[in-house]
């Protein structure tokens, strides 16, 4: 597969609800057909997230601070790496990257800011919790965030 350069290696950013329902899947630099593939990638990563959470069963996420929310590398495939993060209310955030040189510090900082954008967005009184996120301004925030990791 030809390597197609993407925005700073961030190929996909996604938000999945606590019921494992996808709320927001944003791809960068891929065609619409390929974008569907990332829905699948995120979906299969959910199983890995479940496993990781099983091992720390009993304590709610966030008790140990940021290190507790960050789930790390979930799925290294040939082309992409999938990283996961869980919010304090069990929503899951995903980052898919094709950048083999990406630093863990950058990933963690991405998730921290992605989490902050999500938290601000959720305060919109007209957003129904756990429904698809269609906000143009949240999308702009995420694009800007992804861009800043060039």
């Amino acid at each position: 597969h030809p390597h197609r350069p993407t925005l700073m290696g961030v190929t996909c950013a996604a938000v999945v609800g606590k019921g494992n329902n996808p709320l927001y899947v944003r791809t960068f630099g891929v065609s619409e057909d390929e974008a569907l593939r990332f829905h699948f990638v995120v979906h299969t990563s959910l199983d890995v997230v479940e496993e990781r959470l099983q091992t720390r069963k009993g304590s709610p996420p966030g008790v140990g601070g940021l290190s507790d929310l960050y789930l790390g590398l979930l799925c290294p495939t040939d082309d992409y790496k999938v990283y996961g993060y869980i919010t304090n209310t069990n929503a899951k955030l995903f980052l898919v990257t094709d950048d083999i040189d990406i630093k863990e510090a950058d990933i963690k900082s991405f998730f921290r800011r992605f989490h902050a954008a999500f938290v601000d967005f959720v305060c919109n009184p007209f957003y129904s919790m756990d429904t698809a996120i269609t906000s143009a301004s949240f999308d702009r925030e995420v694009v800007q965030l992804a861009r800043s990791y060039q």
């Binding site: 967005f121 305060c123 919109n124 009184p125 007209f126 906000s135």
Partner: protein, 191 residues
């Protein structure tokens, strides 16, 4: 007569002083509570025009009651007419209760109509209006508060939003029109 600059400066200072004195609450609590109320009104009434009306009515009831508190805590003496009253609302009232002051602009030639311009509005934080809410005046409660408050000092006004930052405008702007001075009823007024 041109409005004395000296008086305008005093009001801004009085506004800051009053704001410093009052009890504070967490801004997000106010924003989220108000947002929750507006979204609940939308669910209950389902019609944007009706929600605008309800917000204005709620504001009106607040305004009637707020004036006594305002006059007692702010230290401003009774206003000298419509122009003075609007300056006080903009510089002292809004500052004291909302934390932000407004600019008074665009007076008409007879000084019976003007604009209150807000460059920021804490009620708007985090809010995003989608197309279905295009006709909603999210902060319409403020128009009601102003109408109710002025009624208690014998002025009947109309107040409505003409610009709103949630709708993409650069500022939020209320247009206030003085309809009539309400004559005070005299205590011993009987035949």
């Amino acid at each position: 007569l041109p409005f004395p600059i000296r008086m305008a400066k005093n009001y801004a200072r009085q506004g800051d002083a009053a704001f410093a004195k009052v009890d504070k609450i967490n801004a997000e609590l106010l924003t989220l509570t108000y947002g929750s109320m507006v979204s609940q009104l939308m669910k209950d009434f389902e019609d944007v025009e009706e929600v605008n009306k309800q917000l204005e009515k709620m504001g009106y009831n607040i305004g009637l009651r707020l004036v006594d508190e305002f006059l007692a805590k702010s230290g401003v003496s009774r206003c000298e007419g419509f122009k003075d009253a609007v300056e006080i609302i903009a510089k002292v009232g809004l500052k004291m209760f909302l934390g932000v002051a407004a600019e008074v602009t665009n007076w008409n030639t007879t000084t019976t109509e003007c604009s209150l311009v807000l460059t920021e509005n804490p009620l708007n934080d985090f809010v995003e209006l989608t197309e279905q809410y295009n006709a909603l005046f999210y902060s319409n409660i403020l128009c009601g508060v102003i109408r109710g408050a002025l009624e208690m000092v014998q002025m009947r006004v109309e107040c409505r939003f003409v610009k709103c930052q949630l709708r993409g405008d650069d500022v939020s702007e209320m247009r206030i029109t003085l309809k009539e001075m309400i004559p005070e009823a005299y205590a011993g007024d009987e035949e």
